[in-house]
Subunit: 334 residues, 2 copies
């Protein structure tokens, strides 16, 4: 069988074969041969849970594919809460006629990234819908992480805290746009999609003053920081000149009229940390493959009773307020 | 705004509004106002995890809708493992142009069913795709349950154990087919979709000899029992004449050429129990709204070293082997 048929989603013999041939072979870890409800031991008192659907178009792009993205995205969502991601479930919605070779490729990417991130894929589901009812393949992953220690301390956020990012912004967004070959855009930018959990745990274990973190996916750096400002009543100011942006991303943004602070990333987090520990954090980041371009991009300028604001200081020393992404339409970026 | 736009899936201001207006309002339980990664306390040492995507067509059908189904399906998947379902995450994939009124209706169904089943919807995700890239709305739910006590004992399954079902088979399958108005089928059958967790916990707490359970969704009774036979090396024999089937379902199956043992259910479980406790289990079932039509449908006839088989004894006293569902195409039944 070379292509997915509706029978693969019926829950009968074909589903059984598909699960065994494609999923179990890649994901199974010995202890169980089914991908229905899984039972795991949990030694932590607190667990973090996160779910995300991936509908990225195209499904294969420079730097990754929908499978890798489904793992890194969920791993990072958990990691920024201070949790250690442990297990992931994966639900597949597949269009009738989808090539099984592509499915195997995607599943292999998931298995490889899961192994790298040290998470286990423990349960799954496969639904097949008629041609035209879904565009190829969509994946929903749900991750469960253990909060072994409460490292984050957003309540102690204070004026002067450093705002650090682990690398360049906008790579994922431009890589996807470029892969779509829309808008005549041709770049060599690859997606930054990467699991940051080990890097983040390394930072959390070696510091005491991490206030909060946020991964910068849909909505980009600006949306992520606005959410932090609102959630923790803090005002932050970031410096436009300090933002790490690849020349190619900058160029593509100029041509297309996009603002890189709103472009999606899939391997980037901001870290709000006590100013005294900013150098330590940067030092740890610079020694990591996913933090080589890390830099300080701004500071917390006030913690107030009201909702905080995000401000951008331009190279000509004017300041403007940044809001959440609104209006720009880049669907299916993740 | 009356319809979902691509902007609702961008992760910016519109997504923020949608989450607050539609999801948080229905799902929130006070302690948190975000639907990103959620943090929960877990007091059990073992937790069960299950994930399922729902692509049912049509999304509204007699007896339920895709939202109710997404809760009951995941609740039941956990319940039959012996776990007490605690929390659920929900990921929505929505087609551009989908009516917000319908979304609110679906979300309300989810909230109501979650309340009834005593589970909390704690985290979510919303992706919007272009018109034609998904058929209306698909939902993926992942449930986490606590295994407070290990009630199930499949290893002690033995010859003579009773096979009990909590009610009529095929109702969901026929209700969906009828709602599709395909095949000229018109019935008054409503879907059996229901959360069985409280009923199941009641049985587990009042008995000692429950070996195993299995909810009978895609693939129906036959596929569910074949899986149990294979997983636990037991051979079972069920009696065709004993199977509870509504006359309307029987009639529809005769006209359409379907075998009710392969039709999907969404509120049915088989219970394999020590013969000595069969009457007690039936008694508990008969007193419950979801067990009124419960009955004994067969027995375990052998536990062997090899893979078990499922046998059906016909009314004329012949016996035939049942295999997993194969070949029948009823896509998007759940």
């Amino acid at each position: 069988m070379e292509r997915i048929s509706l029978g693969h989603g019926e829950g009968g013999e074909l589903t059984h074969q598909l699960i065994h041939d494609v999923f179990i072979r890649s994901f199974d870890h010995g202890e169980q041969a089914r991908l229905d409800a899984a039972i795991i031991s949990s030694s932590s008192e607190q667990i973090a849970v996160s779910t995300d659907s991936y509908v990225v178009d195209p499904i294969f792009f420079p730097g990754g594919d929908i499978g890798k993205l489904a793992i890194t995205g969920t791993v990072n969502d958990l990691a920024v809460t201070g949790a250690v991601p442990k297990v992931i479930t994966a639900a597949f919605m597949i269009e009738e006629g989808f090539p099984i070779r592509d499915l195997k490729h995607i599943v292999k990417s998931m298995a490889q990234e899961a192994e790298k991130a040290e998470v286990k894929i423990i349960a799954g589901d496969t639904k097949v819908v008629e041609r035209g009812s879904v565009d190829g393949i969509f994946i929903t992953t749900t991750g469960i992480g253990a909060i072994e220690q409460s490292y984050l301390n957003p309540e102690s956020m204070k004026k002067g805290d450093a705002v650090i990012i682990n690398g360049t912004i906008g790579d994922h967004g431009i890589a996807i746009l470029s892969a779509r070959k829309q808008l005549g855009l041709m770049t060599n930018v690859t997606s930054d999609c990467a699991s940051l959990n080990q890097l983040i745990q390394n930072i959390l274990r070696r510091t005491k003053g991490i206030r909060a973190m946020r991964d910068l996916t849909r909505g980009g750096l600006a949306t992520g920081l606005v959410e932090l400002c609102e959630d923790f009543n803090s005002t932050m100011e970031i410096e436009e000149a300090a933002l790490p942006i690849r020349d190619e991303v900058k160029g593509a943004c100029e041509i297309l009229g996009f603002d890189p602070v709103y472009l999606a990333n899939e391997g980037k987090t901001v870290i709000i940390v006590d100013a005294n520990e900013a150098d330590l954090v940067l030092d740890i980041l610079h020694k990591d493959e996913y933090g080589a371009d890390a830099c300080l991009i701004g500071h917390v300028t006030a913690v107030t009773e009201q909702t905080g604001k995000l401000k951008l200081k331009t190279p000509v020393n004017t300041t403007r307020r940044l809001s959440r992404l609104s209006g720009m339409v880049l669907p299916r970026i993740c």
